[in-house]
């Protein structure tokens, strides 16, 4: 391997692609969004009150008071602390008139048999969604609990019964460590690393996408034969993987720095605080999976990309890898509930899903060491295997013009018969 030539390709790929309109637009999207938010904020700075009123108006559903027609007698008179939010009506017709006149936003029709059946009709205008919102409202539930227990228990107990618990997640790992203490602890321990993982996985695909584009363009423009007469295909591939990997990191860096800049350092503080909460193991392994994942996907993308005769064809061929990488995302909902479920563990040992699956699992739970070591070993073995396959496909694929090789031809390429 001639490392000087690898460096020339790396620098060329980086400098050419960093000036691409697509890259600049995508990279600039986050800072531009920040500028828009800043300008928006500055424009309305002197009119904060009006702005608040404006938003309030947009989201106001009219009066928040709720009418009550009490047929059971349990809710009459309405307790003093609820008299501001709840309006008593004597009949359904009167309540309906109040609702139409927008005196109240909803009406609770409590029947005579309420204590036996619990049946309450919730009357609203507009969609049924409003009725569902009212039924689920904490205030309405507290209203019922307080009135039902008013003559039986003291106010403190009534209040606790209306709002029985304020949950604070605390997860004990197998090593006995305590994770995610308090609500913010949960955010720092699970949510931030989880989104960090998604962020890194996304950059893997952005970068390998650029690689695919670069290979397809060189092939489509017929410049490739001149290039491979100067460098070995494996050197060209290594240079492209390094250069476009650096490009992906540049994009991440710009996004992070601009986010920090525009939010006046608040995000930076959050990130520092987040990093303090993120276990070192998750951070270190995250970087390991990021590097292994990018290398594996980039090599395969380059190899398969070289087989296509046009950009579109190369993208179609490489789509298979994007599908595999997306499988762990599809399982995100289940992963939150049980990051160590069997399917997640199995996919952690499959090279094409291992990087994304492990990056998603790591922040969510104590992943067994056997999974960590096993998946890293699988990836370490897969990278040279991918390099072998990718370099062969790349070497021959680059020189096939005009038609996509058949499966039989690909097989011959891999066996070295072409």
């Amino acid at each position: 391997m001639d490392w000087r030539k690898v460096w020339v390709v790396t620098r060329h790929e980086y400098l050419v692609n960093v000036r691409r309109a697509g890259f600049i637009i995508m990279t600039a999207s986050v800072p531009v969004l920040g500028i828009v938010v800043l300008l928006f904020g500055a424009f309305f700075a002197g009119q904060a009150r009006q702005l608040g009123a404006f938003f309030e108006e947009q989201f106001d559903v009219g009066s928040k008071r709720i009418g009550v027609v009490d047929g059971s007698g349990t809710f009459s008179p309405i307790l003093p602390e609820y008299q501001e939010d709840f309006v008593p009506y004597t009949s359904e017709a009167e309540a309906e008139a109040g609702l139409t006149a927008e005196e109240v936003s909803a009406v609770l029709l409590i029947g005579e048999d309420y204590l036996d059946t619990g049946r309450v009709v919730v009357m609203t205008t507009g969609s049924g969604f409003g009725a569902a919102m009212v039924s689920d409202s904490t205030t309405v539930r507290a209203f019922f609990v307080d009135h039902l227990l008013a003559d039986w228990v003291d106010p403190a107990l009534r209040e606790r019964a209306a709002d029985p618990m304020d949950a604070e997640p605390r997860v004990i790992s197998s090593g006995g460590e305590t994770q995610g203490e308090g609500s913010w602890g949960f955010v720092f321990t699970f949510i931030i690393p989880y989104f960090l993982s998604i962020f890194l996985v996304t950059t893997i695909f952005t970068s390998s996408g650029y690689l695919l584009q670069s290979v397809a363009e060189e092939k489509e423009s017929r410049v490739i034969e001149i290039v491979v007469s100067s460098v070995r295909p494996v050197e060209l591939m290594a240079g492209k993987v390094a250069g476009l990997g650096a490009l992906g990191l540049t994009q991440v860096l710009v996004w992070l720095l601009s986010t920090v800049g525009f939010s006046g350092g608040a995000v930076a503080l959050l990130a520092v605080a987040g990093a303090a909460f993120i276990p070192v193991r998750v951070l270190v392994l995250g970087v390991v999976y990021y590097l292994l994942g990018y290398t594996l996907y980039a090599i395969l993308m380059a190899g398969v990309g070289a087989l296509g005769t046009t950009m579109r064809e190369s993208q179609q061929l490489a789509g298979i890898f994007s599908f595999f990488a997306a499988v762990p995302y599809m399982l995100s909902g289940f992963l939150f509930a049980n990051p160590n479920m069997l399917i997640a563990r199995v996919l952690s040992f499959f090279p094409l899903t291992a990087p994304t699956m492990m990056m998603l699992r790591l922040p969510l739970a104590e992943v067994p060491w056997v999974d960590v070591v096993g998946s890293i070993v699988v990836l370490l073995l897969s990278v040279p295997a991918a390099l072998w396959v990718g370099a062969k496909l790349f070497r021959v694929g680059l020189l096939i013009y005009g038609k996509r090789p058949t499966v039989k031809e690909i097989w011959l390429i891999l066996r070295g018969e072409v």
Binding site: R4, K5, V8, V9, H12, V16, E217, E218, S221, R222, V223, E225, I226, V227, V228, S229, S230, V231, R232, L399, Y401, L412, E417, V418
Partner: protein, 303 residues
């Protein structure tokens, strides 16, 4: 002059197809060597093996006394399937291609500017390639193979797709490079240009060598026993002449084997025949090419 490219018993297969079949030849230093053959003869495959783009299945290749991989930086290549980075600037493209061959960045810039001046594109150095006309791009592709000042230059169908003006420019450029001492291997279908430029040739078909050696010698071998005379008339009893055939205001005279054209000329002068032109009939390379390739196919029962 020594031989700077040596190909010995080269074999290259694609699956069951033998693209190059036990091919051997040598290229002399400082010469222009023509690699000829019909489509699919194995010319491009042979060049790709010499350029270290493909690995041979058997045989050996040495370039400038080195393996093809080691000699990469000393060899230039203009492939048949060619193009350039459309969105890259003209100068940047030449510098990058030279750097890939191992030239330092400053030296590559200097060399690239010199080449651009040579093809009158220096004012386009900072423009993107997509802004260049087709003819300009073709000239640029040609000099891209020279960006690192190679000792040996492989030109695979360099005249393909060129209009007559640009073809003539490239032809002159090749002749100029030859005068500068570069060794050139030229693969082309345009026999008139090959004939005008090459001193030695190799004609291959289906991967096998059909003709190989100095062009003049090959042409001599294939020169028919005939004379072309433009004259008022041809007397009937000329010595050694067995056939007289009028052709476009002239006469083609067929001679018996071993007959001397000089004796025929003397006989014509002795008989006071008014002669405007007298030439030993030249055989165009194209005729030799067609005759040899067709003959080979007939021998193999393909014609």
């Amino acid at each position: 002059m020594g031989m700077i490219i040596q190909v010995q018993n080269l074999v290259k297969r694609y699956g069951d197809v033998v693209a190059v079949d036990n091919l051997s030849f040598e290229v002399e230093q400082g010469g222009i060597f023509g690699l000829l053959g019909p489509n699919g003869a194995g010319k491009t495959t042979t060049i790709r093996v010499i350029m270290d783009i493909l690995n041979p299945d058997a045989g050996s290749v040495t370039v400038l006394g080195q393996s093809p991989g080691q000699a990469k930086g000393r060899v230039g290549y203009l492939p048949e399937e060619r193009g350039l980075y459309r969105n890259l600037k003209v100068l940047d493209t030449l510098v990058y291609l030279a750097e890939l061959k191992g030239v330092s960045r400053p030296a590559a810039r200097e060399r690239a500017m010199g080449l651009l001046e040579r093809i009158q594109l220096e004012e386009w150095a900072a423009r993107k390639i997509r802004d260049l006309s087709q003819g300009m791009q073709q000239r640029l592709q040609f000099v891209a193979s020279l960006a690192h000042d190679p000792e040996v230059l492989f030109l695979d169908e360099p005249f393909q797709g060129l209009d007559p003006v640009n073809a003539e420019r490239v032809k002159d450029f090749v002749a100029e490079l030859h005068r500068e001492g570069k060794t050139i291997v030229l693969s082309s279908h345009q026999m008139n240009l090959v004939e005008a430029l090459c001193d030695r040739i190799l004609l291959i078909d289906r991967g096998r060598a059909l003709l190989y050696g100095p062009l003049a010698e090959i042409k001599r071998q294939y020169t028919p026993n005939a004379i072309r005379v433009r004259a008022s008339h041809i007397p009937a009893d000329l010595p050694g002449v067995v056939e007289v055939e009028p052709d476009d205001g002239a006469f083609n005279l067929g001679l018996v084997e071993g007959a001397s054209p000089q004796k025929v000329l003397r006989a014509l002068l002795d008989r006071d025949v008014e002669i405007q032109t007298f030439e030993v009939a030249p055989v165009p390379l194209e005729d030799i090419f067609v005759a040899v390739v067709s003959g080979e196919e007939e021998d193999d029962g393909l014609a």
